[in-house]
């Protein structure tokens, strides 16, 4: 294998070899440690949000049983659950976690280009999480305005947490955006500048592509959230009227006039829709690599996959108002946004076809990461197809604001990315820790999670068809719902609690592996990408020892005809490739 000299390439990268425990694990500037810090923090808040959802499900499934859930904290729970899951868990985990870990390793660099800024990014993120958690405990509690934080209700009486709760929420979001911008600029610069020799853009694994494009989306979209947050802070604290019209709340006049709540919605969804893809694109990329590796076959239509990612990213900026079909905005916008929204289905469908076609004539090893990947394909098809209902402006009329929406976005943006997260953690666990996990336990975890979540969300669509509105603390008696709807709700709650409980298997497996897991091979999956070719296992600070790797091929040289092994690592040159026993001759 050929390496370029250490000093040849990376003189712009700052390097500090850490020596104490604190510099190694706490104030670390190593992208791998920062990735783990991001990952642990994100999963920790994710568990809080999971707990909140269990409380919500208890209330919905058994509305007459639990006196510790009242309407006030129910609406706080839905708000915080949504906000945490979308931003503090998924965004942070995919970009701060996987982005941090994978970009330098997969691109063949020693670290992020700006390690100090990378460290700062994590600590500001942690601060934003702390501010978020503090908001649960301030007088009035956290905000209960829904994760969309629509004014006027977000800052008007009648909603929980309109004082400190909403202020801390907006403050925490601002901090998160600062953290994300620091991290994001780093990821983009690293992908552009710090690839090792031979690693052209078109040789990058799709994981890096997905994370790269998602980061660009995030950098351009998060400012919209910042702008709306600042303007809402002004409305709340200084009494400007950017978003607030003249209103009479609870018989009192709060003194606003002339503002437009719709303006906030435009700004919010200008961020909010790309945000969906900020979460989805890294998942798309990662799952492509998992499928290719475990099916021992190159990803089908690599170029098309990249262009699909780029097209989806670009289109995601001109579909935002499909969240606002019934918001009271100019109804003529509906035509435009329905069209752009359904167009985005085309590149998305291509990605699905290509995943499935990668399996075609593959050599599929149904290991745990692969199970999660195929589970993802199934749930993503389901969630993507229900998106065609909601994106089509006419069908959105009956379904908007019902449980159909809840089921759709949980399927497409909750379950699907989370299945990828698990698949990815299982896949890279040996690389991160140097140990194997328990395969059987992993499979149990997959089956329970996959089947359990489907049992939650498939029926939930039908509650939506029947007209059950979302964000209802309780339905009470209605004329239009059959009594059995409540039984269905109870069944959904049972599944949800079951799925939540089975996540313990994951943690048991990981803790067991850390303590007693067998040492893993440096490249247990026979993968081609660079992170599996590091000289140390797990990789040490600086990743590559004395010399940077040099890349000679794309990331998908699996089962190349004429080669003995069914994979050729990216850093193997054409001359060095294992001697060509003719494979056909074996039979």
């Amino acid at each position: 294998m050929s390496y370029v000299a250490y000093a040849d390439r990376d003189h712009e990268q700052e390097h500090h070899d850490p020596d104490t425990f604190i510099t190694k694990y706490i104030w670390s500037q190593d992208h791998k440690v920062i990735a783990i810090q991001y990952g642990i923090t994100a999963i920790f808040v994710g568990l809080i949000a999971l707990g909140l959802s269990a409380m919500m499900r208890l209330q919905l499934g058994f509305p007459d049983e639990f006196s510790f859930i009242n309407p006030e904290n129910y609406y706080q729970f839905i708000t915080m659950h949504g906000m945490i899951m979308v931003i503090y868990l998924l965004t942070a985990l995919f970009l701060g976690g996987f982005g941090n870990y994978l970009i330098p390793l997969m691109c063949g660099s020693r670290d992020m280009v700006f390690p100090f800024m990378n460290m700062l990014s994590y600590w500001v993120y942690l601060l934003s999480v702390i501010v978020l958690i503090i908001s649960f405990f301030v007088p009035g509690g956290s905000t209960g305005a829904g994760w969309t934080l629509y004014p006027p209700q977000a800052i008007s009486p009648g909603t929980p947490g309109i004082d400190l709760g909403i202020l801390l929420m907006l403050g925490s979001l601002a901090l998160f955006i600062v953290a994300f911008t620091m991290g994001g600029l780093n990821y983009v610069t690293t992908v552009l500048q710090a690839r090792c020799k031979g690693m052209t853009l078109m040789r990058m694994p799709l994981s890096v592509w997905g994370i790269f494009i998602a980061t660009i989306l995030g950098l351009l979209a998060f400012p919209a959230l910042l702008v709306s947050a600042i303007m809402m802070l002004f409305d709340k604290l200084l009494h400007t009227s950017f978003f607030m019209p003249a209103i009479s709340v609870m018989g009192m006049d709060p003194g606003y006039s002339g503002g437009s709540p719709i303006l906030f919605q435009h700004l919010f969804w200008f961020f909010g829709h790309p945000e969906v893809y900020i979460v989805a694109l890294p998942a798309f990329g990662i799952v492509s690599d998992l499928i290719s590796t475990h099916a021992r076959k190159n990803i089908f239509g690599y170029r098309m996959m990249i262009w699909a990612i780029i097209m989806i990213g670009g289109l995601s900026f001109i579909v935002w108002a499909h969240h606002m079909y019934v918001s009271g905005m100019n109804p003529y916008f509906g035509f435009f946004f329905a069209t752009t929204t359904l167009i985005i289905a085309v590149p998305t469908a291509i990605k699905v076809y290509n995943w499935v076609l990668t399996l075609w004539e593959g050599n599929i090893h149904l290991r745990v990461p692969m199970l999660f990947s195929i589970g993802f394909i199934f749930t993503f098809i389901h969630g993507g197809l229900t998106g065609l209902f909601l994106g089509n402006v006419t069908i959105d009329l009956p379904l908007s604001d019902t449980y159909f929406v809840v089921a759709h976005f949980h399927m497409v943006m909750g379950v699907s990315p989370v299945l990828v997260v698990f698949g990815a953690i299982y896949h890279w666990w040996p690389k991160i820790t140097g140990r194997m996990y328990n395969e059987t336990l992993g499979k149990w975890h997959f089956w329970m999670t996959f089947l359990g979540t489907y049992a939650i969300y498939l029926p939930m669509h039908y509650l939506g068809f029947a007209g059950v509105p979302r964000r209802y603390f309780a339905m009470g008696n209605t004329d239009f719902l059959p009594d059995s709807a409540q039984d269905l709700n109870a069944a959904i709650t049972m599944s949800a609690l079951f799925v939540a409980a089975t996540q313990i298997l994951f943690f048991v497996n990981m803790i067991w592996s850390l303590k007693k897991g067998p040492k893993s091979d440096p490249n247990p999956w026979d993968a081609t990408t660079l992170e599996w070719q590091t000289p140390d296992h797990p990789p040490k600070h600086g990743n590559w020892g004395h010399e940077l790797p040099e890349v000679h091929r794309w990331a998908y040289d699996y089962s190349v005809p004429g080669y003995a092994d069914d994979f050729i690592p990216q850093n193997v040159s054409a001359d060095e490739a294992p001697a060509g026993r003719d494979h056909e001759g074996e039979h």
Binding site: V188, L201, L220, L267
Partner: protein, 222 residues
């Protein structure tokens, strides 16, 4: 939202153009030899900070473009009363233009290795830029004294928001300027690093000047 969209279109088109050039003809599965220059961005292997700065400028532009979009949407509602901007803003604008020019002059000096000009150049830039921020603050005071508060009208609200946000970005630039200036004044840091810092500062100054001119033009015309 057309403003934000137009801006995004420009950014995305630029990015896409570059990506196309990199990727269009590649047949990635061919394990061919690739040129030495294909593994870093368009400005060379050692220009990471420049790339990051351009990225930051894209983020900041997105931020301002979105405020301007909100401005345009809010303006259409009935209660908008156009405000008259304080005359002081003209003086401030001139200061910022001269500051930008002084920094450009300093940069040229650094490129031509005329070390003696760096110190006065940087100091003039700093004083004028601080003068701009101070001037903006005084303009706020004048408005307040004439009874034009942030709550008086959405036009006022946006005026304070836009000028404030711009000033914050200037202050951020001044932090980097201070670090570069300190190095020059103390004589620490090698010539290349100093030159690079000054170059990046110059780009950022021109950028913020451009942002200010757009904002100012918009404020004047509405």
């Amino acid at each position: 939202m057309t403003i934000a969209l137009g801006f995004l279109a420009i950014i995305l088109a630029t990015l896409l153009g570059w990506l196309l050039k990199q990727t269009f003809n590649a047949e990635p599965w061919e394990a061919a030899v690739v040129s030495d220059t294909a593994h870093y961005g368009p400005f060379g292997a050692d220009r990471s900070k420049l790339i990051a700065l351009l990225g930051l400028m894209a983020v900041v532009s997105s931020f301002f473009a979105l405020i301007l979009s909100a401005y345009a949407l809010r303006m259409e509602l009935g209660d908008w009363v156009p405000m008259t901007e304080p005359q002081l803003l003209w003086t401030n604008t001139v200061m910022l233009i001269v500051a930008s020019g002084a920094l450009q002059w300093t940069r040229n000096a650094a490129v031509n290795d005329q070390q003696g000009r760096l110190r006065p150049g940087l100091l003039i830039t700093g004083v004028l830029t601080l003068g701009f921020v101070l001037g903006q603050f005084i303009a706020w005071q004048q408005l307040q004294n004439s009874g034009q508060f942030i709550t008086s009208n959405p036009a006022n609200g946006f005026f304070y928001f836009l000028t404030g946000a711009h000033a914050v970005h200037i202050l951020g630039g001044l932090y980097v300027w201070a670090r570069a200036t300190l190095k020059v004044v103390l004589g620490t840091g090698d010539a290349t690093t100093t030159r690079r810092s000054i170059e990046l500062c110059t780009i950022y100054w021109h950028f913020l000047l451009l942002v200010w001119l757009v904002l100012f033009g918009l404020l004047l015309s509405t």
